[in-house]
């Protein structure tokens, strides 16, 4: 046996994922496709919000959707019915997507000519926050029944998000939920995040979300 060598590595455990994610982001920028990483708990209304968004924007933007789940393909069928090009990604038991899985999904979807691609990440407030997928923007959805203390319990998710959508505002009054408290808790972790209260059901606040998307897509392509 050769002599044992000690080698100093000094590298973050996710450094190779971060490099792959940055390379993917650069490529998407060159192609003019904005990838949005959509994260939330299960049942926050991601798919309902996406369906409404597709109905509102499909005539002005070419949109693709990647649905990530541990299994099943119910969500991909739903968004396809609303006119988006969609693929279902299975993570095979994993709780998140990383850059390599995202890249594989984009290849399967085919992004030629698409302005905007939503990556509907696995429903989970912890792991998806840790892994850079190569997305241009990170959006997290918090539904009002989940309560306004979520930013205190899952700080990283709120730290990394560019936009926090507060969904199901139409039922907020039935739950122990204060928008003011939520804003305070988000600001503690992330002073720069935009916060948009919406209801996909009644349409409340949805125009501000569409306007945010239009503006970000314009900036990404500029």
């Amino acid at each position: 046996m050769d002599r044992i060598k000690v080698i100093e590595v000094k590298e973050d455990v996710l450094a190779n994922n971060d490099r792959a994610a940055q390379a993917l982001r650069d490529r998407l920028h060159d192609q003019g496709t904005m990838l949005v990483n959509l994260m939330s708990s299960p049942g926050s209304g991601k798919t309902t919000l996406l369906a409404a968004t597709l109905d509102a924007l499909r005539d002005e933007l070419a949109i693709g959707v990647m649905e990530a789940d541990v299994d099943s393909d119910v969500d991909a069928y739903t968004v396809q019915r609303h006119g988006a090009k969609a693929v279902q990604l299975h993570t095979g038991g994993m709780c998140h997507l990383d850059a390599a899985m995202t890249e594989q999904g984009l290849r399967e979807l085919g992004i030629e000519g698409l302005d905007l691609v939503f990556l509907e990440n696995v429903g989970n407030l912890i792991c998806p926050a840790e892994f850079d997928t190569g997305a241009a923007r990170k959006v997290m959805i918090l539904s009002t029944p989940e309560g306004h203390d979520k930013p205190l319990k899952y700080p990283l998710m709120f730290e990394v998000s560019d936009l926090v959508i507060v969904s199901k505002m139409d039922v907020a009054q039935h739950f122990d939920f204060s928008l003011g408290e939520l804003e305070k808790n988000v600001r503690l972790r992330n002073p720069n995040a935009t916060i948009l209260p919406v209801s996909a059901k009644t349409g409340e606040g949805m125009d501000a979300w569409y306007e945010w998307l239009r503006r970000e897509v314009r900036q990404w392509k500029a």
């Binding site: 044992i4 590595v9 455990v13 450094a15 709780c95 840790e130």
Partner: protein, 114 residues
């Protein structure tokens, strides 16, 4: 359970390092792991054993986890405090304007091999 995903990424990195240094076998990996990194050492070690033993380079390799205590510094009064005990708000002056100094890392420090 993001520990399994983290282990897969670690193995990719270690295989690159192994190739670059022409190693046949890695026998030990030391990892600096912050107290508030969100990575659980017990889960990580279980995932490590399962995944490392399925590779040629890392079969049997020991993973040593060195815990890094989490420390936060207060921008208002300049003092530091233990993050786990006191969280985001400074226990000395009550300011929420604080920054995590260390304790968030998950970093491969050194490897031993031949």
């Amino acid at each position: 359970m993001h520990e399994l995903g983290i282990v897969f990424h670690m193995i990719d990195t270690l295989e690159e390092v192994g190739r670059a240094n022409e190693l046949t076998s890695i026998t030990k990996v030391t990892l600096n792991l912050g107290e508030v990194s969100g990575v659980l050492p017990d889960y990580l070690l279980d995932c490590w054993r399962w995944a490392a033993d399925r590779t040629d380079l890392l079969a049997g390799a020991q993973l040593e986890v060195v815990q890094i205590d989490a420390v936060t510094v207060c921008n208002a009064c300049g003092r530091t405090y233990g993050t786990i005990e006191h969280g985001k708000v400074c226990p000395h002056c009550g300011s929420p304007d604080t920054v995590l100094l260390r304790g968030n890392e998950a970093e491969i420090d050194t490897i031993e091999g031949w």
